[in-house]
């Protein structure tokens, strides 16, 4: 190809590319939500003299053009593949693939966040639990990096130190160590959470330590064989989906589940199959985010009750624990103010388990 022809072609192709993409940008209908990233996308900002002179318009317009860019997910995949495969970067936006799992770097340990979490728990202890004949337990769920980071050369918190530091901050809790019972296979490959079908031993161990031993036998139900977890969308890398399963048996089927999303009781299901096909399929367990849920087991002789303070890891283990208790109250203080709990729960003579993941404890600003 001679220079003249190359230069003419170059100008025509470049101009055409700019113009075509530009036209698509202008005419493409807005997308309200990114399924892959599980977040709302920026919409076209309102034009006004005030928004222009304050700089708000241009700032929001730039966010809008990035969020609404045509084939954005494909471009994100190109970038992720280039970064990790060509530049051989160990992570892309903090996400990485190792041993067939997607994970996110959780580093460094944030002592301030641990203290914030401990303060919230201390408030609950001092306000509701102290002198109420309650047994207070703590268990910490390690994130996947506990199993992945060291062998694969990723930055990671020192988990032993992390848990020891947190235990020191909540000396009134009895710590139950579940780390030895867990392995990488107990977690979804594309998601941050553990698999319900892999944690029956954890549930039994916890119950045993709290004096509510049970031995459950279950039937596995496949809710979705195309479960793309939270990391799949965030990483933008092409990955194989996980299978999302739930466990059931006669005891669990007979449990009465009540949700208090608005403060008022509303009966519901242990497993919300509608959500299994939704934006975040893991939300099928106890319908995902809910401030307060009770699970009552009518077929048990004991009067033991459990109050479970939890993050999303608790959603899949709470149903299993229901087999050892007459009633479990599942509380998520990310969605309800701790100061308000006295109006919803009568604290008296219960087991109380604080079950939180290292990820949440290390990023605890969401606790209220």
């Amino acid at each position: 190809m001679n220079n003249k022809l190359k230069n003419i072609l170059s100008v025509i192709l470049f101009s055409a590319l700019l113009l075509i993409v530009s036209v698509i940008c202008w005419v493409k209908p807005e997308t309200a939500f990114s399924e892959s990233e599980r977040r709302p996308l920026a919409s076209k900002p309102q034009l006004s003299a005030e928004s222009i002179f304050s700089g708000e318009f241009t700032e929001n317009f730039e966010k809008y053009t990035v969020d609404q860019f045509p084939l954005r997910d494909k471009f994100r995949t190109i970038k992720a593949l280039f970064t990790t495969k060509v530049f051989a970067k160990k992570d892309n936006n903090g996400l990485f693939t190792a041993d067939g799992h997607l994970s996110k770097i959780e580093y460094p340990q944030n002592q301030q966040m641990l203290e914030i979490a401990a303060e919230k728990f201390d408030f609950i202890y001092q306000t509701y639990l102290k002198d109420k004949n309650t047994n207070i337990y703590l268990s910490v769920v390690p994130d996947k990096n506990y199993f992945l980071s060291f062998d694969n050369g990723y930055l990671s918190i020192d988990y032993k130190k992390f848990i020891a530091d947190f235990k020191q901050l909540v000396p009134y809790m009895i710590y139950i160590d579940i780390t030895k019972l867990l392995s990488l296979d107990d977690y979804y490959k594309t998601d941050s959470h553990w698999k319900q079908e892999s944690i029956t031993d954890i549930a039994e161990f916890l119950a045993d330590k709290m004096g509510a031993a049970f031995n459950g036998e279950y039937t596995e139900v496949t809710a979705s064989d195309k479960f793309y977890g939270v990391y799949a969308g965030q990483s933008a890398l092409p990955v194989k989906p996980d299978t999302l399963k739930s466990l059931t048996n006669e005891v669990l089927d007979s449990c009465i589940v009540t949700y208090y999303d608005t403060g008022l009781p509303k009966s519901g299901e242990m497993y919300n199959m509608e959500k299994a096909g939704g934006k975040d399929p893991y939300e099928m367990f106890l319908s995902g985010t809910s401030p307060l849920i009770t699970i009552e087991n009518p077929n048990i002789r004991t009067n033991k009750e459990l109050i479970l303070f939890r993050d999303s890891f608790g959603s899949s283990i709470a149903p299993l624990l229901a087999q050892g208790y007459k009633k479990i109250t599942v509380v998520d203080i990310r969605y309800v103010q701790s100061t308000f709990l006295g109006n919803l729960i009568e604290f008296d003579n219960q087991d109380v388990l604080f079950l939180y993941s290292t990820t949440l404890l290390n990023n605890s600003t969401a606790l209220r």
């Binding site: 190809m1 001679n2 220079n3 003249k4 190359k6 230069n7 003419i8 072609l9 170059s10 100008v11 192709l13 470049f14 101009s15 590319l17 700019l18 113009l19 993409v21 530009s22 940008c25 202008w26 222009i52 002179f53 700089g55 241009t58 317009f61 730039e62 053009t65 990035v66 969020d67 860019f69 954005r72 471009f75 994100r76 190109i78 970038k79 992720a80 280039f82 970064t83 060509v86 530049f87 051989a88 970067k89 160990k90 992570d91 936006n93 460094p108 050369g153 990723y154 930055l155 933008a236």
Partner: protein
């Protein structure tokens, strides 16, 4: 508006290219001026009026200097022009620095202005200054058409991050310039290479630099890794921006001066500054150093001249002591080279390159700091002061993670690829293959840059304090 952004690439630029193409020749500058004002107002909706006022003053003083040429009044108007431009720069960029230091010395608490720095003020102030000085010197004709003068100053490709285009360089091009496929194609190539340098290399290296700043696990090795990455980041960021400016200029028929010429292959600091930010260095040479007498003066005066130029070079980059120290650091190195080391470089080629990289790495660590205290702390960290360990887990992780990017950066900072391509082009078949591959490579790079932007990746703006 940033060149390396979706709004610029896919909203602003296509509209501008269409408008410019369909506009008759006589109105092309008017269109360029209007879109340049929109470009500037996009990021600085209020300060666009400051820029217009500064241009208006430059225009009026230019006319007055010309009107009273050869008379004392011409000097007065030149003085007024320089003073008004520099006062605006001093007020918006340096006022708080002066107040802070005044407060520190006197113990008073004079309140700070806390003004946002108008983007590009250092660049356009210097362009207007050079214009009025050149009119006074008679090296350029006065520009009687205000649109043409405003187009020269506000021309969006070079407005916010240079190169500092001299009026003398584009005086003729403002009224008579050619457009061709060859020039436009050259501009596209230059623009996309610049965009890639900025987005793919500079921003990636910048992520590591940010991680270093946030790290609580610093070590001597990590300081050096940061130093190399930061100097490459600034180079690719700044030279990438200059490439984009030069490339965009070619779209519109302009030829801007080169601003970078592989500075890291230099074998002396003197050579480094002939290859780094060339338009700034030559500006200070022509408008400060030579008027002070240059090097045709007594030794003591020469030291003074060098001190003034490098003090100002440092201060131009930012209103903090670390920038002044950074400038003077180079001034000292250049003085030592000038008087004591010229033979050394001729005899020891490898040593001279190591020397340049070593001292520029330290200089960029000083440059990267927010203030003098952290500059000294960072520079000390490179030599293990403060009891930091030799190596750390974070250093090892980031070295592994960014090893390839760093290697690509190092190779791209040398002319190796350019030399190889030029040699291959001497073989006819290879030249044909290279020509054939050029367009797919450019489109591939543009898609890759778009992918980085669509991902909302790290995209800092390093020029805000210039």
């Amino acid at each position: 508006m940033l060149f390396s952004s979706i709004p610029f690439l896919y909203y602003f630029l296509p509209i501008v290219l269409i408008l410019y193409s369909i506009t008759p020749k006589a109105l092309k500058n008017t269109v360029l001026l209007l879109v340049s004002l929109v470009f500037y107002a996009w990021g600085e909706p209020m300060y666009v009026f400051l820029m217009i006022a500064t241009i208006a003053l430059g225009y009026i003083f230019g006319l007055l200097i010309d009107r009273f040429r050869g008379k004392p009044l011409a000097k007065v108007f030149l003085f007024l022009s320089a003073t008004s431009s520099l006062l605006a720069l001093a007020y918006f960029k340096y006022a708080d620095f002066f107040i802070e230091n005044f407060n520190r010395v006197t113990g008073l608490s004079v309140p700070l202005f806390r003004l946002a720095l108008p983007i590009g003020i250092s660049f356009y102030t210097f362009q207007i200054l050079s214009y009025t000085v050149d009119v006074y010197r008679g090296t350029v004709n006065v520009q009687k058409n205000p649109v043409n003068l405003a187009t020269y100053v506000a021309l969006f490709p070079q407005l916010i991050a240079g190169p500092i285009v001299r009026y003398s360089d584009i005086e003729i091009q403002l009224t008579s310039r050619s457009h061709s496929f060859d020039k436009a194609s050259d501009g596209i190539r230059r623009f996309i290479f610049g965009l890639s340098k900025k987005i793919i290399l500079a921003n990636s290296l910048g992520e590591l630099c940010d991680a270093f700043h946030l790290s609580a696990d610093k070590s001597v090795a990590f300081f050096w890794l940061f130093a190399f990455c930061y100097m490459l980041q600034v180079y690719f960021d700044f030279s990438g921006y200059s490439d984009m400016a030069i490339g965009l200029g070619k779209f519109f028929g302009f030829e801007f001066m080169e601003n970078f010429n592989y500075p890291f292959i230099s074998s002396s600091i003197t050579e480094f500054w002939r290859r780094w930010h060339i338009s700034l260095g030559s500006w200070f040479r022509d408008y400060v150093y030579i008027p002070l007498g240059g090097n045709r003066v007594k030794r003591l005066r020469l030291f003074f001249n060098i001190f003034v130029v490098w003090f100002l070079t440092g201060f131009w980059h930012g209103a903090e002591w670390n920038f002044i120290i950074w400038g003077l650091y180079f001034g000292i190195l250049l003085t030592i080279e000038k008087f004591f080391m010229s033979d050394l470089f001729k005899k020891h080629k490898i040593l001279s390159h190591v020397y340049v990289i070593f001292f520029t790495a330290i200089s960029f660590v000083i440059f990267s700091a927010d203030n003098l205290t952290s500059a000294l702390s960072y520079a000390g960290g490179m030599f293990g002061l403060g009891g930091i360990p030799l190596a750390s887990a974070e250093w090892l992780y980031y070295l592994r993670s960014y090893g390839v990017i760093l290697a690509v950066g190092i190779v791209s900072a040398t002319p190796l690829v350019k030399i190889a391509v030029n040699r291959l082009k001497q073989i006819r078949t290879a030249a044909n293959i290279i020509n054939f591959l050029e367009i797919p490579v450019l489109i591939g790079l543009l898609i890759l840059c778009t992918a980085y932007l669509a991902d909302g990746s790290f995209n800092p703006f390093l020029y805000f304090r210039f």
